[in-house]
Symmetry: D2
Subunit: 170 residues, 4 copies
């Protein structure tokens, strides 16, 4: 199933609902392309690391971990983006750790502050949903940035990263 | 009960387990000192704002809101510090919002990255537990910084705040 | 505070939001009346037992534990009534354990089946909200039984209890 | 993938971690055998019903829904078996609803009281793990009944069901 796609794919993304679909993980372990592995909605971090092991054990070492919001009792946002995951995972693995604040919060207004906070907490990257006109998006418009907001965010992230690196000298 | 204490107190702190102890909130509403109101372990943000209203309605406008970690299924840390709360609260209230990463994570190694992340997300301050020798602390030693770590954190927070303010010009 | 009430009170109820209001628990420990102690919205069962110890240690052994629904990610009901608590608590304490399905679910249609299930799981009793005309109740009408439903429930609980006792002979 | 198995299979079970593996659901929708669909660890009940729709829409109407414990903050048991799900689902669907108290609690001592409670709440059945010698089981021994306990449970369930049916005349 994976092979015919590989030619056209840069990165395989395993969605949160498939974090423990072990057949899929084993197939992706045989692919020669990076795999972006998202934490399940109630996935413990140790389970996320175990799922990464399944890919690794099948032969693929190019794995990116992604925090994308967990389910809690709080209904103020769509999910609860868990930035605690970043220092926890960075202490336990050499794998890159990125964050998805669009799905993590479900609210475009929260994407920029939480992206910057994630980088400051040690994240290696951010994936954010972008749409030319979020108000008319067919799906996930509420959590999407427009092109101008995305461009600003990219510049802000560069500043935050420079700041984080400068903290090491304090 | 509150009055005899007021002379010696700078700030009254309402612990997480008393966020909805309405008798206490009304008494503090009559005090002339600031009140630091912590979110309950499963307190919804709208409930936190309602508890602040109880203090406000009794006559005290000096209220500080504090995110200190919520209860979730994740057992990797003592609580799950919820940084989503910062932009959410800042959009809905003029009250200062601070964060307690010591109780929020229960792990001294996570206090510094999450303090910096909280400031970047828009927090107005951080409270962290500090002890001259955390290893011999009678309580909460695992989550306490020593004096040198605390001093470094203060300097780092100054840098992060300067960075956050500079982002507004991007 | 407690003493002037004692003359008029049959049972003191500690609401979920005050399960860890230790000043209140100590005062109730000095009272000569039974105390109904409700589990907090995110109260672990071991914390509920510790709170009972606080009352006990102050001198009052007449304590009733009450499961009344916890906070989870599920929004289909107001709270998630946790019937696992019944066998867990009954194995660890001699105290009576009762259940509040009205607050636990927030839905009058669920009160009867969950009351019967709670008795079958080993509960010593049920407290349910009753109102002569739930549709016009000023508060909690959605979760209230009318008089006729309450009468039927009482008869059903008697049958369920008889059935539970008969199971011991199988 | 499904077809070669169908000859040897009585019921296809979709485990909790695959409740939203839509490819799998569509394949099972083409099978001529019943499908036992388990609720995900943080699966909302409306999502469980949507997953059932995916099977249904692909042509298979033989679907059994199964509550098997959700993830909450409570660590006293492995999962929190959610018996509220039973009356909720029975009001919204004609599909049979069963309960798995072995995975739901992870504790053999809780299996019997919660099985009886589930039947009393309206469940159409129970699946429980059974092992000739749970203490030496290679997996899930802590939550398994031995043969004698299982036989007793079956008899108890018959009594509980008779009791539940008799309640309809009260």
């Amino acid at each position: 199933m994976i092979e015919p796609m590989a030619e056209y794919v840069d990165v395989f993304q395993v969605g949160a609902r498939n974090m423990q679909n072990f057949c899929l993980l084993h197939e992706l372990g045989k692919a020669q392309k990076p795999v972006l592995l998202k934490r399940a909605l109630s996935g413990k971090l140790d389970e996320l690391l175990h799922s990464a092991e399944h890919i690794f054990a099948s032969g693929n070492e190019q794995i990116i971990l992604c925090e994308r919001g967990i389910r809690t009792f709080e209904t103020a946002y769509r999910n609860t983006l868990d930035l605690n995951a970043i220092p926890y995972l960075k202490q336990r693995t050499h794998l890159p750790v990125i964050v998805d604040p669009s799905h993590g919060t479900g609210d475009a207004q929260m994407v920029t502050p939480l992206s910057c906070a994630a980088i400051m907490a040690g994240a290696d990257g951010v994936i954010a949903e972008v749409h030319p006109n979020p108000a008319s998006a067919l799906s996930d418009g509420m959590q999407s940035l427009d092109f101008k907001q995305a461009e600003t965010l990219i510049q802000q992230i560069r500043s935050v990263l420079a700041c984080r690196q400068s903290l090491e000298n304090i």
